[in-house]
């Protein structure tokens, strides 16, 4: 399939899987069940068989509710976690099994921005130290004045006054800290940025500032983003394509405009209808029954089956495959495939 693409995608996920073991150590796996002592391992299936491409220059948004595995995907790509299965390719080269040293050249290309600006900066380092460290580490041959120049340039580009450099993170507000965290990621001149809920801990008026900053950096530096969020209004504004995750699987992947105009998967529809609108007095909110099941010991069939109004026997036993639709979107749903949904 990829051979047909003339341009190689920047990042490719192939059947990515991540399971976390709940019971660590031998003794914890011993359980007493119905009169017998058995050995049992429980696993959390955080990410199940996800395949995605990120094209150069796009902003791919990954949305979903808590526990859907969106942060795990980000951490797998950033190399903070090791996948349990599947492959991650960056510019055609496999990166998920590389050693720390083999990853080094990639660290300059791929950076990450975190959710909590209160925890993502080392509280014992001044802003100057925090920004200088990556520059020096990755460019040991750079002269002192060049390093200072570089840090000052990056600070100015994110709207942080270089005269604040001697201060510690606790002296700044959340929005300013997030700017500094973005600056730190930009000091190594990356081409790809993984942003894990970068604005959800911020106030509304500050969210707009940070989002604008990220858009500006995208346009000026030609950045590619993988943007993890739960906020659909941000997706609509920021993303070029959207992947909707539910319980560790992709249920719908489409261009942003297509997805918001014409959502196909029942979960996507419910998600879109649940966003509180400003000027709409009577939203027709689609009620989902029940709540998200725990990702321990997943159901056999479609992960969404327990809450879906269109679920039938096939949904209970067979996992739907992601299929391409006429408008280019990819949907994993038996009901869509069989055209059982009324529109």
């Amino acid at each position: 399939m990829n051979d047909m693409n003339p341009a190689q995608p920047l990042l490719e996920l192939k059947g990515l899987e991540k399971r976390f073991e709940l019971d660590r150590g031998f003794l914890e796996t011993i359980k007493f069940r119905s009169g017998k002592i058995v050995r049992e391992r429980r696993e959390v299936h955080a990410v199940n068989n996800i395949s995605l491409n990120v094209e150069r220059g796009e902003a791919l948004c990954v949305v979903g509710e808590s526990g859907c595995g969106k942060s795990t995907v980000a951490r797998l790509i950033a190399g903070l976690l090791t996948p349990s299965g599947g492959e991650i390719h960056y510019e055609g080269e496999r990166i998920d099994n590389r050693s720390r040293h083999a990853m080094m050249p990639l660290r300059k290309k791929m950076q990450m921005i975190f959710q909590n600006p209160y925890a993502s900066l080392n509280p014992r380092m001044t802003i100057q130290q925090a920004l200088e460290e990556p520059v020096r580490y990755h460019n040991p041959e750079m002269s002192k004045s060049d390093v200072l120049e570089k840090v000052a340039t990056v600070m100015r580009s994110v709207g942080v006054d270089p005269s604040w450099a001697k201060r510690y993170p606790h002296e700044f507000s959340g929005g300013q800290r997030q700017r500094i965290a973005i600056a730190r990621a930009l000091t190594v001149d990356p081409e790809f940025i993984i942003a894990d809920e970068p604005i959800s801990a911020l106030d509304v008026s500050i969210q707009a500032q940070v989002l604008n900053l990220m858009l500006e950096a995208k346009n000026q530096r030609g950045l590619t983003y993988l943007f993890i969020t739960h906020d659909l209004s941000v997706v609509q504004h920021f993303g070029t394509r959207v992947a909707v995750l539910y319980l560790g699987s992709v249920c719908e992947l489409a261009d942003t405009a297509t997805l918001f105009e014409n959502p196909k998967h029942p979960y996507t529809k419910a998600l879109l209808s649940a966003v509180p609108q400003l000027k709409d007095d009577h939203p027709n909110h689609i009620r989902l029954k029940g709540e998200i099941p725990t990702p321990i010991n997943l159901p056999q069939g479609c992960p969404f089956e327990s809450r879906c109004a269109y679920a039938n026997d096939r949904c209970r036993v067979e996992q739907p495959r992601p299929l391409q639709q006429a408008d280019g979107s990819i949907v994993a749903c038996h009901a869509v495939e069989e055209d059982r949904l009324e529109s």
Binding site: R75, A78, G79, L80, R100, M103, M104, R107, K108, M110, Q111, M112, F114, Q115, N116, A119, S120, L121, N122, P123, R124, M125, E133, P134, Y137, H138, D161, S163, W164, K166, R167, E171, A181, R184, V188
Partner: protein, 314 residues
């Protein structure tokens, strides 16, 4: 925004004085008095050769005829000996100053050794995790299940027997530092490991990993500076403990020799005379030891209250 630009960053002392720590220190008379006493004792001990009227290590200055003079406020005292003299005729005041110096030196060096071992092991155990963590922590458990004194007594008794009294006395100070230092590293290792586990989950550590920094750099540059508060708190307690351990060992005759007495050996050497009326040889160094340990513990208590957010009194 504008306020940030106009005020220049204050100096370290001003920052320390204005910080919550400085503020709570000023508001806490017990801590202030403790610090003053500790600094006074420490300064006098450090500058003992300048402060003391006699040099207790110099046999030429010791006259056996001067032995067992009482302190000057008791009848029959010699006015040149402030706290009287011991059984060998040494000036007790000078001997206490030199002894305190030894006790503090051994305490601080032993704690430095404990801290070095414990912090290194705790950092590695906490950061690397897995089997190495289990192994190191089980070692710490085993070490802790022997009492410090028991280990020290066995070790010192064996070395004393091996090298003979004379050689042992010559190197007693090093043996004491090593044995107290090695016996108590698990205290540090456990505390450091616990804070490392908490810090490791924070996003700035992930950020450092995404930037490609090596484990050594992350441990030393990023995690360690953020784990300092509990290290400070246990250090004070450990210094007090080490001074007591040293005093106990010296009292038992396994520490500093009577010719170079620490507070412990001084108390011990006066013990034989306590019932013949010369109580001061034991009592005065005893009071100094108690006061020294007490002020260190009081400072430690205050520091724990300030640095530990859980016991914060709102």
């Amino acid at each position: 925004m504008s306020t940030l630009e106009t005020i220049p960053p204050p100096s370290l002392w001003v920052r320390l004085w204005d910080s919550n720590m400085g503020y709570s220190f000023r508001r806490n008379p017990v801590a202030v008095v403790s610090l003053i006493i500790f600094v006074a004792v420490a300064l006098m001990a450090i500058f003992a050769p300048l402060v003391a009227p006699f040099d207790p290590y110099d046999p030429a200055q010791i006259d056996i005829m001067n032995s067992e003079y009482p302190p000057i406020w008791i009848e029959g005292a010699d006015p040149s000996f402030l706290f009287g003299t011991d059984d060998q005729g040494r000036d007790l005041w000078s001997t206490i100053l030199y002894g305190t110096r030894l006790s503090l030196l051994i305490g601080l060096c032993a704690v430095a050794l404990q801290a070095f071992l414990g912090i290194t092991i705790g950092l590695i155990a906490g950061y690397v995790g897995g089997r190495l963590d289990s192994l190191l922590m089980r070692l710490a458990d085993i070490q802790l299940s022997f009492s410090t004194l028991m280990v020290a007594i066995i070790f010192l008794a064996v070395t004393q027997a091996m090298f003979g009294s004379e050689t042992f006395n010559q190197y007693a100070i090093y043996f004491l530092i090593v044995v107290i230092g090695v016996a108590e590293w698990p205290q540090y290792a456990r505390t450091v490991r616990a804070t490392v586990l908490a810090e490791k989950k924070k996003e700035y550590v992930d950020g450092a990993r995404v930037l490609g920094f090596g484990p050594l750099r992350i441990m030393v540059r990023h995690i360690l500076p953020n784990s300092m508060s509990p290290i400070f708190v246990i250090s004070t307690v450990q210094v007090a403990n080490a001074i007591i351990s040293e005093a106990s060992l010296s009292f038992l005759g396994l520490g500093m020799p009577p010719s170079q007495p620490s507070l412990g050996s001084l108390i011990s050497s006066g013990f034989d005379y306590i019932f013949s009326g010369s109580w001061w040889i034991t009592a005065i160094p005893g009071v100094v030891l108690v006061v020294l340990v007490l002020v260190i513990n009081l400072l430690g208590d205050w520091m724990r209250d300030v640095l530990n957010p859980k016991s914060f009194k709102g």
